[in-house]
Each structure stands twice: as C-alpha cells, then as structure tokens.
C-alpha cells in the first residue's frame, strides 16, 4: 500500500483500529467528506437572505429554528463553476467548535453520497501543492477504489476578507 490506503466500507475493519466516520457528498463529480460529528442536519435548499458586502460564496443567512445561520456555496468557495440549484441540491448544516466558541454554518453541495469509516491517521495529504484550496483539505483517502477528499472544517468555515 502506498501513499493512499485502501479502506473498506463499514465492515472488515480491524477491531483495534480506531476509526472516524465521514459523511460524503458529491460536488462536480468528486466526492468530499466531512466529519460526521460536525453534521447537525441535512436540509433542502431554500432561499436565504443576502448579507450586504459579503464574499460571493456566502449566499446569505437563514433562520434555523431561531438561530441565524450563514449559508456557503461550496462550489464558489472552491472556485468551481456555478451550478443552478435544483431538486437534489442540499444544505449540510455543520457545527464546529473553535477557540472563539461554537459556530454553525450551512454548506450547499450537489448531492449527499454515503457514510464511511476511515481509520484515524489514514488521511494522506501528499502531492497537494500550495494552492488556494489546500487549506480546506485535511487529506485524501481511497474508498472502494475511488478518492474521497476530506475537508478541514475549521479553515473552511472561517471567513476573512
């Protein structure tokens, strides 16, 4: 096994290997994963209230049971081409704990895919250059022969302009 290791889905895990679960979603034909413990809920896309003078990838804020939650378009955050929102478009609401406290934010993705177990420390971050998006990526793993990009949420959800 080389830089990227093979992971089997759910079963066949060695008992003594600690794993983390990742929720994955599809965006521009690539599969991305986020730590499942950070996922608050998954909801359909509904229009958000735009916030003045915010970055283009912030689509606005929504009312999530009384809390004001910003919504980020992940395609635009990564500089991918813009896609019209449709039936399958979902918002993954994530909650992360940073030094300044908890922060809740929604990300718009094309479609939800699956949940995988990934052994801790298995994600490899080799060969990724220092481009504008490498900050957002925790590492790559291979699941069922294809690549999953694990996201570094704290960097992803920190907005500074």
């Amino acid at each position: 096994m080389s830089a990227v290791s093979e992971i089997n889905e759910h079963s066949n895990m060695e008992d003594d290997v600690l794993t983390e679960q990742y929720l994955t979603f599809i965006m521009a034909d690539e599969e991305y994963g986020v730590d499942i413990l950070a996922v608050q809920e998954i909801r359909g896309w509904e229009s958000a209230t735009p916030v003045p003078n915010s970055p283009r990838y912030i689509k606005g804020v929504i009312n999530l049971r009384g809390t004001i939650v910003p919504i980020m378009d992940l395609r635009q955050r990564f500089g991918l081409e813009i896609k019209e929102y449709g039936e399958e478009t979902v918002v993954v609401v994530l909650k992360i704990f940073t030094s300044t406290g908890a922060r809740t934010m929604g990300i718009i993705v094309d479609a939800i895919s699956d949940v995988y177990d990934v052994p801790i420390g298995d994600a490899k971050n080799r060969g990724l250059g220092d481009n504008q998006n490498s900050n957002f990526i925790k590492g790559l793993v291979t699941v069922k022969k294809h690549m999953v990009i694990l996201l570094e949420l704290e960097n992803l959800l920190t907005i500074d302009d």
Partner: protein, 691 residues
C-alpha cells in the same frame, strides 16, 4: 455523608456580595455621634453570616478576617466602644478587602493576604490597645469565665444534639472536622449510642447519636464554642476542661469502650479523606470557573405571574386544539377569537419574561455614595449626593454595562465640575456642592441624569484646547452645542493638572462609545457658573427593538424606529449634487447627505428615480442622513438576533431578526451606515457653515 459543597459556592459568593453591599451602605449612612442600633445590627449580621458561610465552605482566609471584624462590631453593638471616623474608615477598607478576597476565591486564585493581614493588625491594635474593656472580657457572661484560659490539659466536649439536628441542615461531621483542624487532629471522638431506638422505630432523618470529644491540646474554649455556634439551639453542648473533668471522662469512656476504636476509624476517615478530595476538586474546578455563570434574583411575584400566564396559554392552546379536531367553516368566528386570545397571551408572556431581566437601577446607584465620599475626601471638596428614581427598572445586561460610564461621569462632575469650598463661597454658592442622580422612564427608554451645581463647562477653554489639539480649525465658529460635543472627541482633556481621577484624555469618548454600543445616546447641557447636566438615554432592553420595515429591491431591512426623524417622498428637484458625486437633500433650512442603500449594500436591483423612492431621514450622533429606499412597510417589534455568532461583524448591520413568515431580515446600524457612506461627515461640515 458527603455533599459536594462547591455547588453552593456561587450562592455563597452572591450572598456575600450582597452582605458587603449592605455593610457598605450601613457604614455610609451611619451617624457617627449616635449610631442607629438597627444599622449596626445590620452590619453585624452581614459580617456574621459571611463568617459562618466562609467557615462552612472552607474559605478560612475570609472567615478569620471577618472574625476580627465581627469582634469589633460586637463591641460597638453592645455599647462597649464608641463609633469613630477611624473605625468607619477601617471598616470600609475591610469591606473592600473582603470583596477582593472573595473575588479572588471565586476566580479560583489564591487570594492575596497582604492587605487583609495589615487590616487585621489594625483591628487587633484597636481591640487590644485602646479598648476600655479588654476584648477577651467580651463574653464575660459565659459561665466558666475564670477557667477560660485554663484549658491547659485540653477539653472534654459532650455534644448532645436534638434529634432534629440533621433536619435543620447541620452536619456533625463538618463540625468535628473543624475541631480536628483546630487541635491538629489531637482528639478522640467517642460515640454514645444509648439513645438509639430499636431498628423498627428508627427514623433515618433523626439524629440519635451523642458524641464525646476529647481534645488533647491547649486551645481556647471560645474557639470550640465557635465551632458549635450554629447548633447552640439544636443541641446541648457541655465543654469541660480535661483536668477538671478527668473524673468524669473515664466514666464516659468506659461506657463506650467497645465502640471506640471503630468510631475513631470512621471519624478519622472522613476527616482525613475529605480534605484531599476537596482540594482536588478545587484544582479541577479552576478552569471551569473562568466562565462564571451569572444569575439574577427574581422576585416571587414575577415568577408567579409568569406561571399564571403560562397556565392561560395552555388553556388557549387546548381550546384551539379542540376546535381544530372537528373544524368546519361555521366556527371560523371562534377560531379567530381563539387566535386573538393566543396573541394576547403570547404578548403578555413575552412582557413578563422580559421583566425577569429587569432590575431596579439602585443596583448601580448603590455604589455611588461610597465613590462620592472617597473622591470628595481625596479632593478636599464637600459634596452631597442626591439620588432619585432608584426603583426605575432596566435590563440587567444594560445595567452591567452602564456602571462604568456612570462612574466616569460622576468622577468628572466631582473633579472638574464642583469647585473647592472656598471658590464656591466666593461665587456666592453654598459651601457644599450637590451631585444629583436621577433615573426615569420616558417613551420606551430609560433616562439617567447626572446633574451638578458646579462651575459648568468652560466653553472658551474647551475651544482653546480643541484648537491646540487640532480638533477644530483656528477661528472656527461653533455653536454652544458643538463646543460641548467636543468633550466627547478622542484625545480631548482640559484638566490643567492630571489627577489620578481624570484628565488623561481617555474617558468621555469611551463613555460615549460604551453608551452608543448599548444603542443609547448621551447629551450634555451646561451653564457657566451654574453647573452641568449629562443625560443618558438607553433602551430598556437590548433584546427587542421597535423597527420600521423597509424594502430595497427584493430585500427587507429594518431601521430602528428611534433613529428615524421622518420619511419623505420628494421630486428630483429637492436633490442637489455636490461636486458631481455626492447628493444632498435640502430639508427645510439644512442640507442632509443622501445615501442610496442599494449602493452601500451592493443590492442588485432596478434603479428607480428619486421621485419614485422614499427618503428615510435618520439621525445618529447628532448627524442626519437621508437613506433612499424603495418602499416603506409596516412597523413592528423585532427580537434582535446575533449575526456575529455564526458569521462575522458586517458593516452597517447591527443584527438580524426573524419575520412573521420565518425569513430573516437584517437590522440596519445607522451610525455604521453613516460611516460607510463616507461622504456624510465632510458634507455636513460644509452644510453647517452654509446654514
């Protein structure tokens, strides 16, 4: 039985702070010549319960310090010692000292004992030295007075509690632990189980045990009495010197010989084990304590009315529920009635919930008598503080933040405002100056006035200073209000001598900023030689805002109703263009800069002409701007939600709210908007000269 005492610490601290406030209040009110017995009693009681509490929770530093305080107070109470200015000063200093100790303990730090040790020395000097009656003879009514110092061989304490002892919340183990500390564990506890009933009639909540404690160390009898101080009504406590009682002791001991070793074991364990546990807990606790949870005391009336309202809400809800189960169109009338009822209920509920956060402003005011006293003594001025409207209620958050700005304003009044007694007499004014604090409600705001009868603001000197500092242009012609406004500019200070109280040039701008951050405003008016008056206006609560909904393109924004001066619809001719870039509106006799909300906020929409739009004239920091919007919608109370919590601060936006349909609308921050539009200030200067 081990109860985690730390869960009560918060309550202890709060009660102690209240006690300290009461002591301070009492000391300040006290008439030196013939002190009111009730006031002294209040002070004594506060000190006493603080000592008890501190002892219970193991804050020995506080307990020991309050003990000497209490001894002195006790002498004053019983008339053995006269109150004097020195004692008052010392007691006030001790109040500060205890407060500091408590704050350190609360923060989980080791308290700094230098201050308390010094003060304690002073107390002991008073108590021992000049005391007309020796301090130890204080308790001369104690029966074994002459044997008091004779505990040379130790003491035998027979502790016979009433069976109800445990029900009154007293814990014998705690007292024994305290005793063990007193005599460095050189004691033996034996148990007398003669009172134990047969098992079937045993009530586990009652205390049938009798203890006999042999203390084999020379300690004061008073110290032993103090341990049992809280249970004197619930128990019979016989303390006999060990040598005198040696005849009895063996008898008592033989009676329980069989039990003794076992009991000692039991007793030794809690005494030994409890200490490490509690220190360990303290260590673990420390990080958690940093984020202290604040709490408020709510009067039972408010809670009762809340419960009543929730009851009504439940009734309305079940009524509507029933109606919905077999609903047909003929019962629409009843549905509407029910909904109206529901609306009424929720509004009342909201009001009462808000009231829970409301506290009388006396919580802030109460610290000022002390402040005025200290500051006026240090400045050699004579000042009366008059307070009115102390029962005016306002939101707790607002109250916490208004304290510091007020301290600053009051210090300023005393330092810069009120003249020295000689100067006052020369100016034909009474020797003693007055500072008047007043609070009242006015149209959904709370107004706080700070008024003094001092020299008033010296406009010439303010102007001169401002010119020196480059805040205004040489020879500028300013109105009186504009000159007064200069004192709120950053870096402005007129005090000739920089005292430790004021004059460093930080302050008034911070005061204004703090008040502005609470959505409030501050105004000053003044008359030379007659005094000045600061008026602070604050919203009653930070959580709710009266808003005007406006529409720009497809978006709804909310303007705080308080900042709206008027809304007008005009034709294009009313707008003048300055320098080809900024527009101004001629509004009666002044020019008001125009801000296009869609430009500032980058909202994509079809451009409309001014004639089709509406101009909302808003005022902030004394400046007016006209904001161009598409449409005015309704006015409503909105609940303010934080945008920063999950996102970040947005210029020109103070928060968000949720509208009736569940969507989010943003609340416009008027002063931020005026800064963003940028041009406003420059144009306004020009307009002032024109006007």
């Amino acid at each position: 039985m081990s109860i985690d005492l730390s869960q009560f610490h918060q309550v202890f601290f709060e009660e102690s702070y209240e006690g300290l406030d009461a002591m301070e209040q009492g000391l300040l009110d006290m008439d030196m010549v013939s002190p009111d017995a009730e006031v002294i009693n209040t002070i004594f009681r506060a000190a006493h319960s603080m000592k008890g509490g501190a002892g219970t929770f193991g804050f020995t530093q506080v307990a020991e310090f309050t003990h000497v305080l209490e001894t002195l107070l006790d002498q004053i109470r019983s008339g053995q010692r006269a109150m004097s200015q020195d004692i008052q000063n010392l007691l006030l200093k001790s109040v500060d000292c205890i407060r500091q100790l408590l704050q350190d303990l609360q923060a989980g730090n080791d308290p700094d004992l230098t201050e308390s040790t010094t003060l304690k020395g002073q107390f002991e000097e008073i108590l021992s030295g000049q005391s007309p009656v020796p301090a130890t003879a204080d308790k001369s009514d104690a029966p074994v007075d002459d044997k008091k110092e004779e505990g040379g061989g130790g003491w035998l304490v027979r502790f016979i509690p009433e069976v109800t002892l445990l029900q009154t919340g007293n814990e014998p183990a705690r007292m024994f632990r305290q005793l063990a500390d007193l005599c460095d564990n050189e004691m033996q506890v034996s148990l007398d189980t003669s009172r134990l009933p047969v098992f079937t009639s045993l009530n586990p909540e009652e205390c049938y045990l009798i203890w006999e404690i042999r203390i084999e160390k020379t300690i004061n009898k008073e110290d032993i009495e103090e341990v049992f101080e809280w249970v004197t009504d619930d128990a019979e406590i016989i303390i006999t010197p060990l040598d005198a009682g040696s005849a009895q002791a063996p008898v008592a001991e033989t009676k329980v010989t069989a039990e003794q070793p076992k009991i000692e074991d039991v007793q030794a364990k809690p005494a030994g084990a409890a200490n490490p546990v509690s220190t360990e807990k303290a260590a673990v606790k420390q990080p958690a304590k940093q984020q202290e949870s604040s709490s408020i005391r709510v009067s039972i009336d408010k809670v009762d009315s809340l419960i009543n309202m929730v009851g009504e809400l439940v009734i309305t809800q079940s009524m509507l529920g029933q109606l919905g189960q077999n609903f047909d169109i003929t019962r629409v009338q009843r549905l509407q009635e029910g909904l109206a009822q529901l609306e009424h209920n929720t509004r009342e509920l909201q009001e009462s919930v808000m009231k829970i956060r409301m506290m009388p402003i006396s919580f802030v005011f109460s610290r000022f008598p002390r402040l005025v006293r200290d500051v006026s003594i240090s400045l050699d001025k004579k000042i009366d503080l008059i307070m009115s409207g102390e029962n005016t209620e306002l939101d707790k958050t607002v109250m916490e933040k208004i304290g510091d700005p007020m301290v600053h304003l009051i210090r300023n009044s005393i330092d810069h405002g009120i003249e020295k007694p000689a100067d006052r007499v020369a100016a034909g004014k009474p020797e003693t100056g007055t500072v008047h604090l007043n609070a009242y409600h006015q149209s959904g705001n709370i107004v706080i006035e700070i008024k003094d009868d001092g020299a008033g603001l010296n406009t010439d000197r303010i102007l001169q200073k401002a010119t020196e500092k480059g805040l205004v242009a040489e020879g500028a012609n300013l109105t009186q209000e504009q000159i007064f406004d200069l004192i709120f500019q950053p870096g402005f200070s007129t005090a000739d001598v920089v005292s430790d109280l004021s004059g460093r040039g930080v302050g008034m701008d911070v005061v204004r900023r703090n008040i502005a951050s609470l959505n409030g405003s501050i105004e000053v008016s003044s008359e030379r030689g007659r005094g000045s008056r600061f008026v602070i206006r604050l919203p009653l609560t930070l959580a709710i805002l009266d808003g005007q909904l406006v529409k720009v393109g497809e978006e709804i924004y909310i303007f705080p109703l308080v900042s709206i001066v008027e809304s007008i619809q005009l034709d294009d001719r009313a707008i003048n263009n300055v320098g080809g870039h900024s527009d101004v509106l001629q509004l009666r006799d002044e020019y008001v800069p125009i801000v296009q909300l869609d430009d500032v906020f980058n909202i994509e929409k079809e451009k409309r002409s001014i004639a089709e739009s509406i101009i909302v004239v808003v005022e902030t920091d004394g400046e007016k701007i006209g904001v161009v919007v598409d449409e005015l919608m309704g006015q409503q109370q909105v609940v303010i939600k934080s945008l920063e919590e999950n996102y970040k601060r947005v210029d020109g936006i103070s928060g968000a709210t949720i509208l009736g349909d569940g969507t989010v609308a943003l609340i416009v921050d008027i002063s931020g908007l005026s800064k963003m539009s940028g041009t406003s200030a420059k144009i306004l200067d020009g307009s002032h000269k024109a006007a």
